[in-house]
């Protein structure tokens, strides 16, 4: 019976994880992004969307890999993930010391995108992520709060030599979303469009602007280092890269589909 069920599940391209994840609706709006769409001052516009309240966990990702073994360690095509993919697990299909409720890390962009498709979802865009991450517990946009910024920077400035906490360990933000700061870095769907140069100091370089246009780093708010560091981290990555503190969560259109 069990075997039959597994066989059926495997026939589907992607299968639903056992428990459906929670998504909340983030109302649309416009805000000043560190990466203005016109490269100057224009506000970024975000349509209403639904965002996973928690990052994807080791346990959830294990269920996904069990159902979709082509995404298991050693079986995954090397084009889709580097050698450290899921290397913190005891084996390709066993967590070992990695906690079920800890956020999954050591995942590539390809694997994250595939997982989200299995939830009929997708990775959030940079603007969606930045918009939802601008809030603290009681304000939609807390970015002017120095203490809040310092708190975020404090997390960035500590090396990750200790085990990651479980998901949901930071306070719920304005939209009802957890862990947007203070737990992990997160993939975004259009991370490859964040064309900040490996050398942060060549802002205004004519060669760079020619290729990268609006995406070149010309920050609205030069003091907003907290969010800038997230941009720097994402732009250091290739889609197959994995790191010890890079995970993801998924998003959907406002109507709940993966658009």
């Amino acid at each position: 019976m069990l075997r039959a069920a597994t066989a059926v599940l495997c026939m589907a391209a992607f299968t639903l994880p056992a428990a459906a994840a929670d998504y909340v609706t983030v109302p649309g709006g416009s805000y000043s992004s560190v990466l203005p769409p016109d490269g100057k001052f224009a506000p970024a516009v975000v349509a209403a969307f639904r965002l996973r309240t928690l990052p994807v966990t080791n346990g959830e990702f294990l269920d996904f890999v069990r159902a979709n073994p082509q995404w298991a360690r050693f079986r995954i095509a090397s084009l889709f993930a580097d050698g450290q993919y899921l290397s913190h697990w005891a084996g390709p299909l066993s967590l070992g010391g990695a906690g079920r409720n800890q956020p999954v890390t050591h995942v590539s962009w390809f694997a994250a995108e595939a997982y989200c498709e299995s939830e009929q979802a997708r990775l959030p865009t940079w603007y969606e992520f930045e918009y939802a991450a601008a809030s603290d517990e009681s304000h939609a946009d807390a970015r002017g709060d120095e203490a809040w910024r310092e708190h975020i920077l404090d997390w960035y400035s500590r090396p990750s030599t200790t085990a990651l906490p479980d998901v949901g360990s930071t306070p719920k933000n304005f939209y009802g979303v957890y862990d947007m700061h203070g737990l992990i870095w997160e993939w975004v769907g259009d991370y490859a469009g964040l064309m900040i140069s490996g050398d942060n100091r060549d802002q205004g370089d004519p060669d760079l602007l020619k290729f990268c246009g609006a995406g070149a780093l010309s920050t609205q708010d030069r003091e907003n280092y907290a969010i800038l560091m997230r941009v720097a981290m994402l732009s250091a990555l290739k889609a197959a890269d994995t790191t010890a503190n890079l995970g993801f969560r998924c998003a959907k259109g406002a109507t709940g589909d993966g658009s």
């Binding site: 310092e150 960035y156 503190n245």
Partner: protein, 505 residues
Amino acid sequence: MKKKKWAATLAVSVAIAMASALGAGVAAAKGAPAPANASSRGDFGPPQGEPIHAILTSPPNVPAALNRKFPAKVIVELEVIEKEMPISEGVTYTFWTFGGTVPGSFIRIRQGDTVEFHLKNNPNSKMPHNIDLHGVTGPGGGAASSFTAPGHESQFTFKALNQGLYVYHCATAPVGMHVGNGMYGLLLVEPPEGLSPVDHEYYVMQGDFYTTGKYREKGHQPFNMENAIDEKPTYVLFNGAEGALTGDKALTAKTNESVRMFVGNGGPNLVSSFHVIGEIFDKVRYEGGTHEQENVQTTLIPAGGAVMVEFHTQVPGSYILVDHSIFRAFNKGALAILKVDGPEDKSIYSGKEVDAVYLGDRSAPNLAAVTEAAKAAQSGTLTLEDQVKAGGALFNGTCSVCHQPTGAGLPNVFPPLAKSDYLAADPKRAIGILLHGLTGKVIVNGSEFNSVMPPMNQLNDDEVANILTYVLNSWGNPGGRISAEDVSKVRAAPAPAAAAAKPEH
């Protein structure tokens, strides 16, 4: 009106001077074949021999001179490590490092070498990092080619065209934070003939640090971005920690030796006025370049710049390295020590020859308590209160420079007198220390000190007694009195061998 005319004349004469200078330049260029510029002179063709793995050293050590006669391919492997380390006693900070130390590993290559550079970012790092080497000719100094995520490695290759001493640093956004967390070091590109041999080479680098807590506030201190933007550092340090180069970790030399220091300034904000108290630099290759200045007292090191200084040691003692923007030295930590051992040379420096009391007009009110105590002692009516008052005035004039007005001392350099277990254990021992001085290791309140206190035998018996009585009755010490008779007995006895200044080995 007059002023305006003068300004106009000046402008004209400047213009003329500029024109003639330009003219002279053109004439010179016409007269002789154009000399190759410095960087094209540094290309000695393709690398020769087997690739060499560069030996990197941690500060304050410098890799040995290369003594190589040909350009080689040199492989440099540098790992970025984010780690918590002490920044001061009882204070920790998360440093981002090149090679696990602040400043980062010292890299030594030869002009004309082809360097294959590997930048590795430790898997436990939270941040991506890169490296801009000021000795690289090419956009970003390697920064764009070395942008590396945690758990990854980047490689790029450059030819070292220019000789000199160069800073390297991380240039990932936000650059100031990466530099402010300690991501800098030095790259020495030796001239083809090498540098002149010396007895000691040392690696010292200044940096400014911005913490949320105050100077010496205990516990883990996070980076403070607002203070960094305002350029208000909590610490200004040599080699990344208070006490990195004092006490047992002081730099050392013997008398009659030549010392070369490679001194960098990582910044991120401050310019250093580098000075060694009691030494004169015989040679300074200012800005790390090719030209030498001689007989220099203090040399400026820009943020993101470096200097080579050389001097000869003649007189034994402790030489204190400071940023002569002097509050940084005594209130923010920019202090290191070079300890020179060897025989005295009285023909060059005598030590104190005369010490007589000089009471100018201003001293009368300050030292009124001293005069009063002296009178009371003569008439036999001296009270504890008289002694403490007089001792306080004398302490502030004589002792507080080192032991601080609060008696707290300076960690690793001058022992505390406040709540001092060393003092409490034997208050009378302190008489001998004042009269004979104290050299060598002592442990006070759990910390080890190894420095030199000169004898204070210019003080008379009354004065020594009053100072010590003041100290014993201040800052949580046990109290008690020292009398002039106590002092006179110790003065009459021969100096104990342990207290006599003698060179250590």
